[in-house]
Amino acid sequence: MNEITITIDGKEVRTQEGEYILNAARANGIFIPAICYLTRCSPTLACRICLVEADGKQVYACNAKAKMGMDINTKTPVIEEEKRAIMEVYDVNHPLECGVCDQSGECELQNYTLEIGVDKQHYSIADTHKPAQDWGLIHYDPALCIMCERCITVCKDMIGDAALSTVARGSEPLDAAFKESMPKDAYAMWNKLNKSLIAPNAGDTLDCTNCGECTAVCPVGALVSSDYQYSSNAWEHTQIPATCAHCSAGCQISYDIKHTDIANPEAKIYRVKNEWNYVSLCGAGRYGYDFQNSNVTKNPVAFDAAIEAFKKADTIAFTSTITNEEAMILQRLKEKLGVKLINNEARVFKNFLDSYSAVSGQSLYSGNLKEVHESDFVVSIGTALKTDNPNARFAMNNALSMNKGAGLYFHPINDPVIEDMSKNLTQFNHAPMMEEAALYLMLDLFGDKTAMPSSTVDYLKSFHSLKTVTVEETVDEKVIETVIKKVLNEETGVEEEVSEEVTKTVKKKVSKEIEVDDNRLLDLLNAPTGFAETLRKYLAKKEKFSLMVGPDLYTHPNSANCARLVALIEKYTVFNVTMIPNLANTLGVALICDLDENAGEYTIGYNTAGDFTLSALGNGDLDMPSLNQQEGTLTSIDKRVNPTNVALSFGGYTLNDVASALGVSAALSVDYTVQLPVSAGFKAVEFDTLPNHYTNAGEEVRGYVLDTLKVPCGEDENVQAFDEKRAMTTSVVYLANPVLQFTPFTARAHQLNEEGGLYASNEFMSSNGLNSADNVRVKTPKGEIVVSVINDSKINGDITYLPTFDSKINSQALFGDYRFSNVTIEKV
């Protein structure tokens, strides 16, 4: 794209060709009012208030693209009149209950009414009765709704649930006299507004993944969080800039805190807010904020016991829900005390990265989610996308819907949410253990065969064969017919019959036997019939390709080979690869800690089981602060080191206190930020200098991006063949979490508090005669447990899954390293 210069209100502005005028203005600090537009989503054109004059013509700034030398005027008398009328219309019948409205103080209707200076109302229409509706976590008050349709837009273009749409409002038509007396755009806007209302597609309640993004984007108080409703006023909150602690997306959030109540001055988190123009949150991030370890005081007895335990211990086991600084402390403890560090999930990821680096020659994968957003062909392999990393799912959906993109999704579990993203998406519900086949297919379809190692090319060739198929096709056939025509003989004046030969084209169906290429990889991956043709359509006019790979590959028995294949894909195809780390800081832990495979005899568990446990979950021998009570940094999927701050105070001891008593001392945990290993790509930057915000142009100014280092790699690009007999075709169970859950921390939040079980699709439950809450015995080669069955309507097929968020269910013991396991399930 070319950089061009345009003029807005006499100010010269540099922007990209084809950028919307509104975005160009915003990026350069010029204010154009806009209510319905959402950055990263398609222009809705509902509010019409972003009206500007471009080269003498009235256009909407949100959908008019900037052209070289354009002269834009945002304030002409006509436009001012339109804006004034639009705001008056929005104020018609809008309830004057700002005093009790949750949006009051941050309401765009309030702001624009004041900004435009509406001091008198000229329009009116009889109001209709629109009762408020409760949609679970979300509350909708149609009386307050101004029909900007931002909720519909974000749900469709960003989230991918498309759970909302407009329905008839049932209102009287507008007074015909207004058409003459009103400014044109204001009338058109009102006419549309007066006909529609928001409603869930599923009828009375929402059928979606409960991300709550609709409440975040709502400019008024129509869509609000049911839990937050009437609990506080917006301006009373102190906003603590933070990084979400639940998954590897590392979304920027702010914890909105205030004193608990009149009697208790201690801070409490009331809600989580996000910069919805630039980052979209999932439900776990939005509703799972109060996972703090509260009411903890310094307990010297427990502390001394912890020190004794550390002196005795030879192993520290921990999870990746910790900061980089804590990981650094653990690594220092390892160096000082010679203990082993056990974190299986980060270790397999680290091994995967190492195997990848050995072929690719770089320490980190090349992609990030921003690139996925910008792609027009997205492939996901080996991850239950919507629950492993919801933001990766949003990125894929956004790419498919905004860039006219297409995608492939390789996963054993059929996911209706993924299916509904786009028509141009194919799901491959292959058997578990066939992930390598998917990677080989990528190489086969997109790889540069001339550059690839010849052994790989030959191996790929072995899957191809020529197959004779009978196809029916329509051919044009020329037929010569004799027609008898009546011609008037001019000499005699009598009609004569003359026979004449005419050539006609007739369409005819013929069956033909042709030889076609048969790719057995497609069969191994259960590709839908005619996929080759579908793919050809998908690939038309595609420019930017992204591949996301996930934890199924890291835990795969042949994960090293998977990693090498991923590196080959990156090297020999146009795909940009992004790896999805399992948990909030898996990437950070993998880069900072030297992890061991086998535990010793006496284990200290940090947020996990051990002989002595440090826990931020409130169930350990020594209480630790949880991630909303700590400052520090988290490493995200975007390879970004994001700072997070203390939202709630913590009265107990921190890991730094323990380490200091053991001789690894620092005044503050964040003193380790500057010491993070430069050799792994971190930068020697002080914590206090790390920024955490987005600019008006949408630029992410948060922490810093890890350096991708060159890693010495040999010429060896050999990859192993895969054994198709290892495909798990019998009944299997998967290790994953349901929507809204990631770890025991999410389950601690009061809005997400739930018990886990065996999650099964409708299909599985009916075919096995199971009902919700039935108890079943789940038996794998590693062990068995009895859990209740929970229906998950957001999966299809026969594969069930066990969660990791419920610490009462020791699901991990049932699995080896791999996320799938053979299983027998019987009702008890």
Partner: protein, 204 residues
């Protein structure tokens, strides 16, 4: 800004100020002893006592017999706050909009709100920290519902600062309301007729 008015502190020998004629302080011990004896036996005490007795006998006393008698105070007097109820229904007027909390310049108002069983915003607690309140009247002025007002009760001697200003103390008791004892507040923040207000058109 001109600095002259600030620089002229108006204290000089030529100004309206003058030195009070004060006797020299005694310096020696003997002089001090003489002063004490002189002051003790001069009988100034009886001058005061005589004035009191004279006025008593006259029976023409202007003193307000506080606390038996109290002077009327102006309607705009800003004493301890009250929370009023709606005349028609007896509901609390306060809707929990938080404007008083926001405008309070000494940051002494706090309230707790929640959604009640009728899906209305309910103010569960309301308090004013009288240790900080400067009785500026902004809260009463900003209140859109005429719910928080200043009362006339200026006697706020108590063992506890928190007295008078928790919700139960401030809110008009229901029996007070039914017996018509809730006084409408004519002071700060009361509605004044304003010709600039125009009626919004309604399509009914």
């Amino acid at each position: 800004m001109h600095s002259e008015p600030l620089n002229d502190r108006n204290v000089s020998e030529h100004s309206a100020y003058y030195y009070v004629d004060i006797e020299e302080y005694p310096t020696t011990g003997w002089d001090k002893f003489k002063q004490v004896v002189k002051r003790t036996f001069r009988g100034e005490l009886f001058v005061g006592l005589w004035v009191v007795m004279r006025e008593m006998i006259k029976f023409d006393i202007h003193t307000v017999k506080y606390p038996l008698e109290k002077l009327p105070i102006g309607p705009r007097y800003r004493a301890v706050h009250k929370l009023l109820r709606l005349w028609e229904s007896g509901y609390e007027r306060c809707i929990g909009c938080g404007l008083c909390e926001k405008i309070c310049i000494s940051d002494c108002i706090r309230m707790d709100t929640k959604i009640d069983e009728n899906s209305r915003k309910e103010v569960t607690e309301y308090s004013i920290n009288l240790g900080r309140c400067i009785f500026c009247g902004y809260c009463a002025e900003v209140c859109p519902e005429l719910a928080i007002v200043h009362g006339q009760r200026y006697e706020n001697g108590s063992e506890q600062r928190a007295h008078f200003v928790i919700k139960d103390d401030m809110l008009t008791p229901l029996d007070f309301l039914t017996s018509g004892q809730q006084a409408e507040y004519p002071g700060f923040g009361a509605i004044t007729p304003n010709e600039s207000v125009t009626k919004t058109p309604l399509a009914y």
